[in-house]
């Protein structure tokens, strides 16, 4: 992927496919320039065997299933920038009340092979436009900005009649995030 924000878009689709109702997306860069990306959901989760299979496309089991490329691509991006990917997941059987998945990835932003984060505003707007029924908490923090969005707050303002995916609402969200990135940069 050309931008990490594209990986974020792709990985978040997994959470939606897993039936998540609430997804937290955070990108936090510390003073040492280490970026930690985390996508946490309350979806159906994965078994430990599935976690192993998705993280290593060459790990095969007797039941050969079609393997995806989304997680391997994120892993590649992290590892080439001196970081790693971790997945912690609980299925409904593991924990009926606390099931879900947290996928986290670290990157050394100083590495020459670090893929730039790119356009997180477009990624968030695309995610919300595609699945407005899910609640998203988005946080992006670095030394120069602290951007956040909580769709539950927007829903409280909009009420039931106006979906988050409405063209005008998506436009507002885009401006709202863009403003936060710009204000804090000055």
């Amino acid at each position: 992927m050309k931008e990490l924000s594209l990986n974020v878009l792709d990985i978040t689709q997994n959470s939606i496919t897993a039936g998540a109702k609430h997804i937290e997306i955070s990108l936090i860069e510390n003073e040492e320039g280490i970026l930690t990306l985390s996508i946490a959901d309350d979806g159906c989760g994965m078994s430990q065997e599935t976690v192993r299979r998705v993280i290593d496309p060459f790990y095969t089991t007797r039941t050969t299933r079609k393997v995806g490329m989304g997680i391997p691509l994120l892993k590649l991006a992290a590892e080439q920038a001196g970081g790693e990917v971790k997945i912690v997941s609980k299925t409904v059987e593991d924990d009926p009340d606390g099931h879900g998945t947290v996928i986290s990835a670290t990157f050394d932003t100083g590495s020459i092979d670090f893929t730039p984060v790119g356009d997180m505003v477009s990624t968030m707007c695309t995610i919300i436009q595609g699945h407005p029924e899910v609640d998203y908490l988005f946080v992006h923090k670095t030394a120069s900005f602290d951007v956040s969005l909580d769709t539950a707050e927007l829903r409280a303002v909009l009420g039931e009649d106006v979906p988050l995916s409405d063209f005008a609402v998506i436009g507002w969200i885009s401006d709202y995030l863009q403003q936060q990135y710009q204000n804090e940069n000055q």
Partner: protein
Amino acid sequence: MKAMSIAELTALRDKMKDRVAMREGSGQIRVVVGMATCGIAAGARPVLSAFVEKVGEAGLGDRVIVSQTGCIGICQYEPVVEIFEDGKEKVTYVKMDAAKAAEVVEKHLKGGVVVDAYTIGQNK
């Protein structure tokens, strides 16, 4: 959230409430953008953004639904966009980008004329 932005959002809601009732109805067009890993890697995000922005700007929001789907199954042609309209054959646009999407909104969605140059039939 910032107070000013909230006020803007509230105003937006009030404006839209009146419009909601008109939304159902015939003659709807559905634009579907493939957003699986293959689509995203090939550039589907700016295509989707362009459709959302241009359909909104053209005031076609009541007639056109823009939605996302997984892999359409023709990865070598991504970004792929399918257009469904009642009583008409499905149109499949391939190897799309934001500029082509804007053109499709203008000519096809607004003007009713399929942009043949971007269809799968012309790109085999």
